[in-house]
């Protein structure tokens, strides 16, 4: 039972354009969400997070949007750079307990020069 879904296994964009990665979740108890970036042969690295009390969080070129009613979040990267090419994982967590981090399957982003 996939509680966190990333329905696009891959995404290709041109350098300088916007990359939009999407994530849907089913568990209404999730109220903290994270995006991780993973290069080949490396571990996932934390990118940005958002709590359910917000609908937007921005950090430089990266912005995460949360739509709680739709149980949907998205990561926007603008402008996209070739170094952004990686697999992006969406993860969700229930705060206040010892609940685990639940990951999506990842979306492979390729930014073409």
């Amino acid at each position: 039972d996939q509680q966190v879904k990333q329905n696009s296994p891959s995404l290709s964009v041109q350098e300088g354009r916007i990359s939009i990665l999407n994530c849907d979740y089913t568990n209404s108890m999730f109220d903290y969400f994270l995006w991780y970036k993973k290069y080949p042969a490396e571990g996932p690295t934390f990118l940005i997070s958002i709590s359910s009390i917000k609908d937007k969080n921005e950090d430089g070129r990266f912005t995460v949007f949360l739509n709680k009613s739709a149980k949907h979040l998205s990561l926007h990267i603008v402008p996209s750079q070739p170094g952004d090419s990686a697999v992006y994982f969406c993860a969700a967590h229930s705060q206040g307990g010892s609940e685990k981090l639940v990951f999506g399957k990842g979306t492979k982003l390729t930014v073409n020069p």
């Binding site: 991780y36 934390f46 010892s98």
Partner: protein, 113 residues
């Protein structure tokens, strides 16, 4: 300085063998985790320890035994290895047990022949 390190990076072994993977974090975190990324690319939690105590055990076969000699180390011992154990195993750590960013090691690719 590597924050979360794992050894070995690659491990190739025969079915039925016993092997260990070591993990160390120098972030001063209280909580450590083991994740498994299988062939379908899902990252799933296996165990978590907080201050050397087991807090999450995700229905993992008892052939897998985590050991935490101190809060900076969480090793994973696997007995009687099976073909299905082939995967990439990631160690992670965080300061809190919930609602906190987890920092991942580089992963150990285990291949069981």
């Amino acid at each position: 300085d590597t924050a979360v390190s794992q050894t070995p990076k690659y491990l190739v072994t025969q079915m039925g063998n016993d092997k260990s993977i070591k993990c160390e974090q120098n972030l001063g975190h209280d909580t450590m985790y083991w994740y498994k990324q299988d062939s379908k690319k899902f990252l799933k939690i296996m165990f978590s320890y907080n201050n050397k105590e087991l807090i999450i055990n995700e229905t993992v076969p008892n052939r897998f035994s985590p050991k935490s000699p101190d809060k900076a180390h969480l090793n994973l011992h696997i007995n009687s290895l099976e073909l299905g154990d082939s995967a990439v195993y990631f160690c992670a750590s965080s300061q809190l047990t919930s609602g906190d960013t987890q920092y991942f090691g580089p992963g150990t690719r285990l291949t069981v022949l």
